[in-house]
């Protein structure tokens, strides 16, 4: 990247470079500290209260808490629920938004512009302010306390349509026209020609949708009553509030919930960062 050359060029002349790097590393330590603390506490034997900060991080270590938590809670069930809801939400979001974006970008029909504006307007509707009517609607559909009730309200994300439409707009119309002359059906045009070109956008939207769903708290907290349908973010508080004194087991639950996400982050870092920089949307 040419930008790195630039900073390489001027960094020789930056007398403050070393202090800046030290400051950056100090901030790094500060940001990681709570995560390390969580993991180290989860490895503490139950009977070992720590009197000094250092003792949190020193041995003895044990995995017995992990065995206790896995045996004594539904944590795998909650992880499975979160995973299932996340995957279905992500797939449905990608299917619905890419189909709609394809039509808006590559088909000519009346009210096309009006429809696009109608979808854009949805960006301004804050889900958080809509929980009461949404609860009523999902209730009337008899979908409270079901997977569908968790998934359906999340999949009509206009942002995906808007991003994918702008991606599809980049596909030259000549390609589309010549394929149509060759007798290509709309659905094959969509599936074989347009969709493969939007892979980076689909990956970014998909990953951000999955993370959003995985971490979604407010809606599952309202819409789910049965413990067997808890997602992880709802299960954790229910588990943890039973342990207000000792926090070794709660931290084990937190660590168990976080380790897969951290690994996923390390694997998909590039797509996550790309996704954020072109959607720029806060959860």
């Amino acid at each position: 990247m040419s930008n790195q050359q630039q900073s390489a060029l001027s960094q020789k002349r930056d007398p403050l470079r070393l202090p800046k790097v030290i400051l950056a590393l100090f901030m790094t330590f500060l940001f990681l500290f709570p995560i390390f603390w969580m993991i180290f506490v989860s490895l503490k034997p139950e009977s070992q209260p720590a009197a000094s900060p250092l003792e949190w991080f020193l041995p003895p270590y044990t995995f017995v808490n992990y065995i206790d938590v896995i045996g004594g809670s539904d944590i795998f069930l909650w992880i499975w629920n979160s995973f299932f809801v996340g995957i279905v939400t992500t797939i449905l979001t990608l299917v619905l938004t890419s189909l709609a974006a394809f039509a808006l970008s590559k088909m000519k029909f009346r009210y096309r512009r009006a429809l696009f504006v109608f979808f854009i307007a949805g960006l301004m509707v804050p889900g958080e302010a809509m929980i009461i009517p949404l609860y009523e609607i999902i209730g009337a559909m008899n979908l409270l306390d079901t997977y569908s009730g968790l998934i359906l309200p999340m999949i009509a994300a206009p942002l995906g349509v808007i991003i994918l439409k702008s991606f599809f707009d980049g596909v030259p119309n000549e390609v589309i026209e010549s394929a149509q002359i060759d007798g290509c059906t709309d659905i094959r045009l969509f599936w074989n020609i347009v969709l493969p070109l939007a892979k980076p956008a689909l990956a970014a939207i998909g990953i951000l949708t999955f993370i959003g769903s995985w971490n979604n708290f407010l809606w599952p907290y309202l819409a789910i009553i049965s413990e067997s349908l808890y997602t992880l973010p709802v299960g954790i508080p229910m588990f943890n509030s039973n342990y207000s004194e000792s926090y070794i087991l709660p931290m084990t639950v937190n660590a168990l919930a976080s380790i897969p996400v951290i690994i996923a982050f390390l694997l998909f870092e590039k797509q996550i960062v790309k996704g954020i920089s072109f959607t720029g949307i806060k959860g």
């Binding site: 930008n3 790195q4 050359q5 900073s7 930056d14 470079r17 800046k20 790097v21 950056a24 790094t28 940001f31 990681l32 709570p34 995560i35 506490v41 720590a50 900060p53 949190w56 299917v95 619905l96 938004t97 189909l99 709609a100 029909f109 949805g122 960006l123 301004m124 509707v125 804050p126 302010a129 809509m130 009461i132 009517p133 949404l134 009523e136 609607i137 359906l152 309200p153 942002l159 995985w214 971490n215 708290f217 407010l218 309202l222 508080p237 943890n240 926090y247 709660p250 931290m251 937190n254 996400v261 951290i262 996923a264 982050f265 996550i272 954020i276 920089s277 959607t279 720029g280 806060k282």
Partner: protein
């Protein structure tokens, strides 16, 4: 209209319709449903009497509503500038050309992918008096105090804002970082030829070039902070007393603990109007922030 053009008009339907139906049912319809509910005495068992604007009158004279609204505003006012400045500061650090670059970026961002439940409980237990690591650290530095972080309103706010910063600042940091990397090199090279100091380059090139993204981040942040809920519910439960209760928590309590869905819907509607106005400001002022479109 002849047969062929009819067919043409129907062609997009299978593509548009699935999204359209879900979008109308779960994004557009709730807006109208919410308005309807706010005009009724609407409880969980749905005894419905039309009462017109009475809920709105009651909400607007409800001191609890204004307290919650004030708390939310306080959170926005305190957290937004801190968040934006910290994000810029971290982005500048993450943009340093060192071999630790990936580590630094990862560290600033990783808290944002953790669940609100995880970060809340890590915070609660770290902040616990006597056994929490934060007080342990304070005392290790020779300060003989035992702050009860969540028991006093001002300390509770400091805790909530601190946790929120740690949790979410990485998101904005990435937006700043991308923008930093998009500043054309020739600007710096030209400035170098002219003999500009690094300080001057920062004030005359970097900051002005970051202005558009700063505006976007600022507005996104105000909107996001206005919707604060999860971490407050889990960390303080709105307490001590009701001193940290934000508007969405009050809506939640009225709707799902006192079962007054009509009243909660009226409050939601007021919140909706505020957020809508903020979004409109964002679309007008966002400049390139309209880049979402």
């Amino acid at each position: 209209m002849n047969k062929k053009s009819w067919k043409n008009e129907l062609r997009p339907l299978p593509f548009i319709l699935p999204f359209f139906i879900v979008y109308v049912a779960f994004t557009v319809f709730p807006i109208f449903k919410g308005m309807q509910m706010s005009f009724f005495n609407w409880t969980l068992i749905e005894q419905q009497d039309f009462i017109g604007l009475a809920h709105y009158q009651n909400v607007l004279t409800d001191p609890n509503f204004w307290e919650a609204f004030g708390n939310t505003t306080l959170f926005v006012v305190l957290s937004t500038p801190t968040m934006v400045i910290l994000a810029l500061f971290l982005a500048l650090l993450a943009n340093l050309n060192t071999r630790f670059r990936t580590l630094i970026r990862g560290a600033f961002f990783i808290p944002s992918i953790l669940s609100v439940s995880v970060i809340s409980y890590v915070a609660i237990f770290m902040l616990q008096p006597y056994t929490g690591v934060v007080n342990n650290l304070i005392q290790a530095f020779g300060i003989d105090q035992e702050p009860f972080w969540l028991a006093e309103p001002s300390l509770a706010w400091v805790s909530i804002i601190g946790v929120t910063l740690w949790w979410t600042v990485g998101f904005n940091m990435i937006l700043f970082l991308t923008s930093l990397q998009n500043i054309p090199d020739d600007l710096y090279e030209a400035a170098e030829v002219d003999g500009a100091t690094r300080m001057m380059m920062f004030w005359k090139i970097t900051l002005p070039q970051l202005l558009p993204i700063t505006r976007v981040i600022l507005l996104l942040q105000v909107l996001a902070s206005f919707k604060v809920f999860g971490q407050i519910l889990l960390i303080t439960g709105g307490g001590p007393g009701t001193s940290t209760r934000p508007i969405i928590l009050y809506i939640y309590e009225m709707g799902f603990e006192r079962y007054d869905l009509g009243y909660a819907a009226a409050m939601s509607y007021l919140l909706f109007v505020v957020l809508l106005l903020l979004s409109l400001v964002q679309l007008r002022l966002g400049g390139k922030g309209g880049r979402m479109i």
